[in-house]
Amino acid sequence: MPEATTPTVAPSRPSLATAGRPRDAVVDAPATPDFDLVVVGAGPAGAAAALVAARAGLRVCLLERGPFPGAKNMYGGVIYARILDDLIPNWWDEAPVQRWVTRRATVVLTESQALTIDFRSSAWGEPPYNGATAFRPDFDAWLAGKAEAAGATVVTSTTATGLLRDGAGHICGVRTDRPDGDLTARLVVACDGVNSFLAKQAGLYHHEDPKHFTLGAKEVLALPRDEVEKRFVLSGREGADFEIIGGTRGIPGGGFIYTNLDSIAIGVVLGLDGLRKAKVRPEELIADLKRHPMIAPLVDGAQLQEYSAHLIPEAGLEMMPELSTDGMLVAGDAAAMCLAAGIWLEGVNFAIGSGIAAGETAVEAVRRGDVSDHGLAGYRRRLESNFVLRDHTKLRRAPSLVMSERVQQRYPQLTCDLVEALFTVTNPEPKQGAFRAARHHAKRSGVRLRDLARDGWTALRTYG
């Protein structure tokens, strides 16, 4: 073929979303499939979907690639589980929680400064509680146990490697990594976590971009229980949640410290692009955090128990895939339902919320005998009517604002310098006015007042 000739159908460069995507296996869908519903992934989204569907009498299989639900998890954050109030009344009496978060601090860090907004509420230490720290292997196993008790079949150490489609192209099950491992179902719910292979294979992701992801890296440090309580000024089951802005050598992201009963989790969340450009390893940044004058006394003498890292879908609505297709729903991190909106960092509640909606939709669709994309439309409606998509829609500008260069690098320095200037007594010099000091430090930090005003307006529109 001459060089200048253009083929009728130009072979396009595979996109990130489709590159290396396995071909779907085409099978004869049996009249009676193995299960009504196959839920892939026994995290909070999958367990909630399985629990709802099993309670409604569906034959449910909950597939988990780890040896038990939660085994593959590294999450170390705060769980806001009020979404469970209806599903598991008085869940707080039995959920495997480490501490109830009664102290919430937002910390702005520079190399040598720290500004902390520290809030405490004793109401958060009483039922129905607000947030809790928990080890996800315990929490996920507990929630999946509820689904199993409700009648779901939990199959562990089994990975879904692809989708099964019938002759008409509708998804009718999953292929697993076990011999004779095809599992047919009327409906599949993909809760296989961030970077969902099933959602990609189904073609639901159209514009995947590494900039949409962050890497969370975490160390769990052992400390005696009384030492945790002394250092973080806690008692009983009270817990602390420190969210940190700055302290990542300018890489977009932030840090965190959470208290468990006799350990603390400390870590960083880093934009992939910035991390790649900075050519620094995440554990070095955690080491930086631990050396910071404000944090060092909190972690002094603590023994490293565990190190782990995981991708986080950070871009919210911007990266969300299509949520359903013929024979399949997507929920939890697989559908990028993680809220990273600066002052609100939530994931498990969004996973559970979407899982419940997926379970309810599955029950409705299977009973009606219509698991087509049209028949699954109730899923999006449910998500739009509750916090899952409403919060994401309302806060859709937050991820780009929070990860912007000014918020990540300039404002922390500006804020800390300004506060330091205000509280530094330089007698015999008289006190500088706050506005004058603000202008001076804004100029020194390279922040133009019109940018500050624009970001303030964006923040107001986002969070207001």
């Binding site: 040896p67 038990f68 085994a71 292997p137 196993a141 079949t153 199959v155 089994t158 697993t176 990594d177 076990r178 011999p179 004779d180 491992g181 095809d182 599992l183 052992a222 023994q303």
Partner: protein, 279 residues
């Protein structure tokens, strides 16, 4: 089952990831991480292969608490015909364990065991078991050749890297190494069926009737090893250099990349000679 040879396999339900407190040395166990060691998994695989070759049946047995039934269900999923849990508290003496296992495995032509347990057991159960069953015992096996029913040729590891091939006649108790075989992966249908399969439960025998009784078992402690230190007469800097090995000339590691396979092989041989592996 009458007429078909029975192959037994003994599996120990152990914590595959015990958590040891660095300050106190206390061991925290988590039932979710319990399972069979690689050696026990290899034993199961050999038992299945033998039963297939001899048209026999496999009986899997584990002495432990009810949670050990999860392990036996995994065995059933791989193709075991019968699974028996002997109700026995953890930490029972080897002779007790062997005697209760023997009660289940009296009819077995061959019993396969892992050659050591992950929880630093004494490795004595197979020997006691062979004694109880009046069977031959071969241990440290790295390979089994399954012949006609009742006949086996096994290869076992000896000291200094030597190997020994043994002809074994049944009944026999065989202890295999973990690397000798990889356990097959159970099919999905078998995994689902095993969830509802019956795991038999047998009662344990009281320990009092045994001739041996452990009086005290000390926890495992690695022996301290004497390491020659630097000459104390040297100044601190030189002692530090000796301890760290800094500033010592050594052959730097090198990576050779070549497209020519013959040349690459020659370079590898040359390097192995230089390190003293080839003479």
């Amino acid at each position: 089952m009458a007429g078909r040879p029975v192959v037994g396999v003994c599996l120990k339900w152990v914590d595959l990831r015990p958590d040891v407190d660095r300050l106190t040395g206390a061991v925290h166990r988590d039932e979710r991480f319990h399972g069979a060691s690689e050696a026990d998994q290899a034993a199961l695989e050999w038992a299945l292969r033998m039963a297939e070759a001899w048209d026999g049946e496999v009986v899997a047995v584990s002495a432990g608490p009810p949670a050990a039934e999860a392990l036996l269900r995994d065995c059933l999923a791989t193709g075991v015909h019968r699974a028996v849990r002997v109700d026995l508290a953890p930490g029972a003496p080897s002779e007790t364990v062997a005697s209760v296992l023997a009660d289940v495995l009296r009819d077995a032509a061959v019993v396969c065991c892992g050659d050591w347990s992950l929880d630093r057991g004494s490795g004595a159960v197979p020997a006691f078991l062979a004694g109880e069953l009046g069977a031959a015992q071969a241990l440290g096996l790295v390979r089994l050749e399954v012949g006609q029913p009742g006949s086996l040729v096994v290869t076992r590891r000896l000291d200094f890297g030597r190997r020994e091939r043994l002809g074994v006649r049944t009944p026999a108790v065989l202890s295999v190494e973990g690397a000798s075989a990889t356990l097959r992966r159970a099919s999905l249908a078998a995994v689902l069926a095993a969830r509802d399969a019956v795991v038999e439960v047998a009662g344990g025998r009281p320990a009092a009737q045994h001739r041996l009784r452990p009086v005290h078992v000390r926890p495992y402690r690695p022996r301290p090893q004497a390491r020659p230190g630097p000459d104390p007469a040297l100044d601190p800097r030189l002692r530090l250099l000796q301890l760290t090995g800094a500033a010592v000339e050594r052959t730097p590691p090198r990576t050779v990349v070549t497209d020519d396979a013959d040349e690459a092989a020659e370079l590898l041989l040359e390097q192995l000679r230089a390190w003293g592996y080839l003479t």
